[in-house]
Amino acid sequence: MANTVDSNEIINDFATKEYEHGFVTDIEMDIAPPGLSEDTIRFISAKKEEPEWLLEWRLKGYRAFLKQDLPEWQNFKLPPIDFQGISYYAAPKNKKKYNSLDEVDPELLATFEKLGIPLNEQKVLAGVAVDAVFDSISVATTYKEKLKELGIIFCSFGEAVQEYPELVKKYLGTVVPHSDNIFAALNTAAFSDGSFVYIPKGVRCPMELSTYFRINTQGTGQFERTLIIADEGSYVSYLEGCTAPMRDENQLHAAVVELIALDNAEIKYSTVQNWYPGDKEGKGGVYNFVTKRGACRGANSKISWTQVETGSSITWKYPSVILQGDNSVGEFYSVAVTRNKQIADTGTKMYHLGRNTKSRIISKGISAGHSNNSYRGLVHVGAKADNARNFTQCDSLLIGSECGAHTFPYIETKNNTAMVEHEATTSKIGEDQIFYLNQRGIDSEKAVALIVNGYAKEVLNQLPMEFAVEAQKLLSITLEGSVG
């Protein structure tokens, strides 16, 4: 995608110093009492009028969750998490199912408007269909009818369970098993809502599909689940965005995303993650522990992850691709920005199982303040994966001298025809670079924004046009006050 987004516009838009999505919407909510037990799970399942098999699956997840401990391999200290202190269900009280936008609480619509996500179809970004998830509940999905004409299903997860149970049952948990890791198991047990996408054979989805996640209620976690299936020869580009109010406590976000690409299908999944990062001292903020994985099940299929990670106090995610089909392609493009006391530990896993599979990893870490930014990645080449190819480029950019950047690349090859390339660089924004830009009339913050956006360009260019500008702005705003 070639797009020449104009950095000037972006850096002119240095609006707010603080996290700008930190407001709270005052709305009546249905909230489950804190704590997780089989009863809570039955309660959630019943609220959602789920079929028996799904309840059973949730309970399997719950049991797997109980058996697992928090991971200890990370290079930072994970604060204890009180899983029993979280409420696992919160939904706007008004009405649990909206038949049309007219029925949605105006407060809610206003919230999304304020976030720049108008749900009114006339105002929606042209060419983008949006599913908005507020706490646990999908609020509105736009352009649904139009997509339906093409046979495309784009709806909330809950709705998919009701309307397309066979599809859900066939694919759910086939990429991320219920016991995959403690957070995925927790999600399996308690997932609230999320998005479901099915693109039928040979259909090229004509618009960007997008989900917007918003945590609002205090003391809740968000556990959404996304399932995207691209049938043979189809194509879809999907984008998720997220924000949360400023809270002193830490909020847990443990999502699961599963992508399935069949023969000759392509899925492009982009994330702009801007959860509340906590304050300067590291108080509050979202724990972003998500499991994202795609399976290139068919021959010649392709899955591409692009992420811009600027928020959350701790980010822990490794969008991965299982390259099963012959000639399948996996891509991972990432920009992760940390400042203050944020921690990001992110990267990808590429499992080459089929023949002639290719993967490409471009990771750009930017650390400022006292933050810590790690790339952690695995390239696995199985015994049958003849002629597998991987290229990895891992760059770290440091702003100031108190921050940390680390790379943990793991390579496992069981096939000697594999070619795995890894390149890594670490650079620092030099005072002489800033001064040079200053001398041309550009102040230090804009200078940093210019350098950072230039540095991240290769990844930002992967984003759908409509969001590339947003992402650039976000990078600039995120790094405000990081110099000087």
Binding site: D6, S7, N8, I11, N12, S427, G430, E431, D432, Q433, F435, Y436, L437, N438, Q439, R440, G441, I442, D443, S444, K446, L450, I451, N453, G454, Y455, A456, K457
Partner: protein, 255 residues
């Protein structure tokens, strides 16, 4: 336009500038020459406001305002331009995007609207021609992998684009081939006007044949030890600096 009075400056507790006086009026071209390490680049850094260069005494007025009181970017927006002796490389930032950002920042400061993409491109083309700047370089990352001469010519392109009141050229001629020297000089001559001024730091009389200065100063050991007209440059070319060094023994450096 520029009035420097008794300027003293330190770098890392080392006295470098030891009392500089210099008056530059609109329409004038001043050349500063002097041996390596005498403080020429230090003077330009101090004027541009580089960090770690501490002014210990003296004052500098620029268009009637206290220059030393301004942040570096404000000095630039007020119309002070420094063509660096060693331009830095900034990977990832395209030359054209950088130029546009700089130009619009300066325009905004002067109360002018940002240039539309079309106008901007037109202006760039015009200036590119004026300084015969290779069009291929305009879309590349700022100075990244540019040859020494290309970097210098890029400085002059920026100068042409930003139209400063006072331009300081720090050894812009070093590293230029003979043709480039002529092209760059022609460019500067075309940019010269009644309203702007140039301070040209150079080691070579040759540049001054192209850009004829009104005054020539010799900077030695942090002071201007001799000023004259363009004939002084010729004399220096013939005699070197030794005769001046004998007249002005080095002063104590440590504080």
């Amino acid at each position: 336009m520029l009035s420097i009075k008794n300027l003293h400056a330190d770098v890392e507790d080392k006295k470098i500038l030891k009392g500089i006086d210099l008056e530059v009026k609109a329409g004038e071209v001043h050349a500063i020459m002097g041996p390596n390490g005498s403080g020429k680049s230090t003077l330009s850094s101090v004027l541009a406001g580089r960090e770690n260069y501490v002014v210990t005494e003296g004052e500098v007025q620029f268009e009637g305002k206290d220059l030393l009181d301004m942040a570096p970017e404000v000095r630039a927006r007020e119309g002070l331009f420094l063509a660096f002796q060693y331009p830095v490389e900034i990977p990832g930032v395209s030359n054209i995007n950088f130029l546009r950002t700089a130009l619009n920042e300066i325009r905004e400061y002067r109360g002018l609207p940002a240039l539309e993409a079309k106008e901007f491109l037109k202006l760039t083309k015009e200036k590119q021609k004026l300084v015969e700047f290779d069009a291929k370089l305009i879309n590349r990352s700022l100075n990244e992998g540019f040859s020494g001469g290309e970097k210098k010519r890029n400085e002059i392109l920026q100068l042409a684009m930003l139209e400063p009141k006072l331009s300081i050229l720090d050894e812009t001629d070093s590293g230029l081939d003979i043709d480039a020297l002529r092209i760059v000089s022609n460019g500067v001559n075309k940019l010269r006007s009644e309203n702007n001024a140039f301070v040209i730091i150079t080691h070579y009389q040759r540049l001054l044949e192209y850009i004829v200065p009104d005054y020539v100063h010799v900077l030695y050991d942090g002071r201007i030890v001799k000023s004259g007209t363009k004939e002084l440059a010729l004399e220096l070319e013939e005699r070197g600096y030794d005769w001046l060094k004998e007249t002005y023994p080095v002063t104590e450096n440590a504080r």
